[in-house]
């Protein structure tokens, strides 16, 4: 007997969208078995994980807040990944964006510099500067690749550590809150340096709307613009892209700039919308989780929007399960891993057909 994977003649568009849904269901079933093995009710776990968070206004809001940085970063990364360029350093670009955008909030703290212009410009300036610095930071690995042929995977990843240590240094030193008993945090941002809330009382900051706009705009650019065509072509058939007259170097810089700017924007939105100050660490690994989100979303902006929400759901559902069912924290991580495995498996089966041959031919 031998087991083979034979390529399928054609791939249907429907299958490409049904597969991840099937994968989600498969992951839920296996997750349910795990819950049962822990001696809890899988049905209750299903409700706590997936239904309750989707039926309450509070958790829906939290879902959007949690998904926002993931979606913004992943949409940017999808441009890189589509072009077969591997920006692994979105975490660093996120941190730089948050730090540098936040710096404006520190500079203007307590009304400084607002005597002439007022304060209306502070939030837009923070967003723009955060995105711009993320962009510049992402151009470092892109330029090293274009000029010297250095692998962007290594350089972008190593720049993450530099960004983390940079923020750590600034928050412990120059940016430290003078009244903070030497603890490594900055002052709390002024209200004029904080993102406006979309709904009173909640945590639904304006960054959520930005993430939605970013995803929709990216979907349009990717599907309809010549630039989107170029990105897809370079990734799909690089030699054909050269024949089409597209410059790989320019494209490398462009996609890194886009993903860096979006990661930086996500960073400053998180700092100015959610955290409200700078700390030694401003990200629980969003830049890395977004890589998973990008692939779960099949590198399509709308898919990423959905995938970001699904992943956020597993975090929030996981917390609910810890609180209401006393299920262990590690179940959330296990489930996320399970989900990724199922999606990858589904991906293989949409491209290949499993053929089991027995000794019949002999």
């Amino acid at each position: 007997m031998r087991i083979d994977l034979e390529p399928r003649a054609g791939r249907s568009r429907i299958a490409e969208w049904v597969a991840p849904v099937g994968a989600l269901i498969a992951a839920m079933l296996i997750g349910g078995l795990l819950v049962a093995a822990l001696g809890k009710s899988p049905v209750q776990a299903f409700f706590v994980y997936f239904v309750d968070p989707l039926t309450e206004a509070w958790s829906l809001q939290e879902l959007a807040v949690k998904a926002t940085p993931l979606v913004m970063i992943a949409v940017g990364l999808s441009f890189c990944f589509r072009a077969n360029l591997w920006n692994i350093g979105a975490e660093g670009q996120f941190i730089i964006g948050g730090a540098m955008g936040g710096w404006i909030a520190l500079l203007t703290h307590d009304g400084v510099g607002q005597s002439v212009l007022g304060s209306w410009w502070i939030v837009p300036a923070m967003l723009a500067f955060g995105a711009f610095c993320g962009l510049l930071y992402a151009l470092i690995p892109a330029l090293l690749r274009v000029w010297l042929g250095v692998s962007e995977i290594l350089t972008s990843l190593m720049l993450v550590y530099i960004a983390q240590l940079f923020l750590d240094y600034m928050v412990r030193g120059p940016w430290r809150d003078p009244k903070g008993f030497n603890f490594p945090v900055t002052v709390n941002f002024d209200p004029v340096a904080t993102l406006p809330m979309l709904a009173p009382g909640g945590r639904l900051h304006a960054g959520v709307a930005l993430a939605l706009i970013v995803a929709l705009a990216a979907a349009l650019v990717m599907a309809r613009s010549l630039f989107g065509y170029e990105v897809r072509l370079v990734g799909s058939a690089p030699r054909a892209a050269r024949f089409a007259g597209f410059s790989e170097s320019k494209l490398t810089l462009a996609v890194f700039a886009i993903s860096g700017a979006l990661a930086g924007l996500a960073g400053i939105c998180e700092v100015a919308g959610q955290i409200g100050q700078l700390q030694p660490s401003i990200s629980p690994g969003y830049g890395f989780t977004a890589i998973i989100v990008a692939f779960l979303g099949r590198l399509s902006p709308i898919g990423i929007l959905v995938a970001g929400l699904v992943l956020a759901l597993t975090y929030i559902g996981g917390e609910s399960a810890q609180v209401t069912m006393k299920l262990p924290f590690y179940l959330t991580g296990a489930f996320q891993g399970l989900l990724l495995m199922c999606v990858l498996a589904a991906d293989v089966f949409t491209r290949y057909r499993l053929v089991i041959q027995t000794g019949r031919r002999a």
């Binding site: 034979e6 799909s236 058939a237 030699r239 007259g245 002999a362």
Partner: protein, 518 residues
Amino acid sequence: MIEAPVSKDQAAAEPLVRIRGVTKRFGSFTANDNIDLDLFAGENHALLGENGAGKSTLVKMIYGLIAPTEGTILWRGAAVALKNPEEARALGIGMVFQHFSLFDNLTVAENVALSLPRTESLKTVPDRISDIASRYGFALEPDRPVWTLSAGQRQRIEIVRCLLQDPHLLILDEPTSVLTPQEAEALFGVLDRLRGEGRALLYISHKLDEVKRICDRATVLRHGKVVATCNPREESARSLAALMVGSQVKDVKAAADRTYGGERIRVDGLNLPAGDMHGVSLQSISMSVRGGEVLGVAGIAGNGQSELFAALSGEAAARDANAIRFDGGAVGADGVTQRRRRNAAFVPEERNGHAAAPDFSLSENVVLSRHAESGVTRSGFVDYGRAQNLAGSIISSYDVRKAGPDPAARTLSGGNLQKFVVGREILREPGVLIIDQPTWGVDAAAAAAIRQAILDLAARGAAVVVISQDLDELFEISDRIAVIHMGRLSEAKPAGAVTREEIGLLMAGTASGDARAH
């Protein structure tokens, strides 16, 4: 179905390989349908068919690379189920592939040793290579590194690899496609000896003249089915082609009187260093092509054809803008898009991944070379509706067969995709067309259509450069022929005033003037 002319000796003998009712399906697609085939010791058996007729699938099953869905393969009368090529080789089946799998930086002996069982000592390999080379009358130096060898010599390494296993059946996949006429002659000598030793040969080719000369029997496949088994010596090239295609092939007709316009392509002393260590550098290339004229560039693979195409298309820009002029304008330093704006069009050799993106739909592939045109893109956005219309007119004008309204390029057969790619460029009505291997791996009917389209374009006043390794093709459509060898281009000669032998000598690097002088 035509009766198989089996000789009396063969009728009495047990066939070496007997294939009965073999079917291979990939999903809903049937690549081989109920194939019957007998191969006898001591015969050279041709396997003929268009691209996609199922030749490769059948051969891969005999060589153990894939397993049949139904049917049996008998080896000396016993059914066998080959799990992998190792088992096939153990039985005595050898195969020489069209594309060589050699390591350029290793020597001949090292490459041969790689294919031998681990128990073999590397020390004895050079002697064994020399033995075989002298027995079959060809030269092969065991200690030469492979990168210094010609395509013909590389092929001999592959043949030696097979012969070291002393095969009873040797499968050859398009063995002459990379050889000069002279090298091909040498190969035929070797094949004759092998047959004389009682080995069976399965010879895959689309060159009908060759098959008529050296093969004893021919099996013709069409759409995965055996349509005929015949003696090729008793058939004409035309009748064989008709069997393959299933209908009469049209002759390509050039306009009776060609009139030439002014000079549209001029290349002056073009130099271009090689892009990488295995590439070829172009050295002082010069050519001139007038409107209405087709210039053929002959040559053996790997002598600078790809580099010449890249230089003319702008994929590799020259330092000197004046080295290349289209319609008088210096374009040497321009990129592809700028040259296209000067009404030039290009068709590279490789369809999948170079001329077209395999995973993109046909309409998206229209955008690939035509995004600079007004109408296809507007203020940075692609008008996919317009692209679809263009794709539709290419498909109908060039009779592109496809499944579904706007399928991915890779789902098209080679010939149909080539027609699409050629149509995409010619429908623009370019003034300059550079085309590399226009009918490589394309079935006879499609090849004829493509050649006709090229001639018609020239007749409308365009200047065309056709780079090809197929001499028949060049003689059929060129007004003048030049030869590229080691990155240098010979002087172009009128196609009517030059012989195949002269071109062959130029391809092998021997100056034609010397050959003629005697």
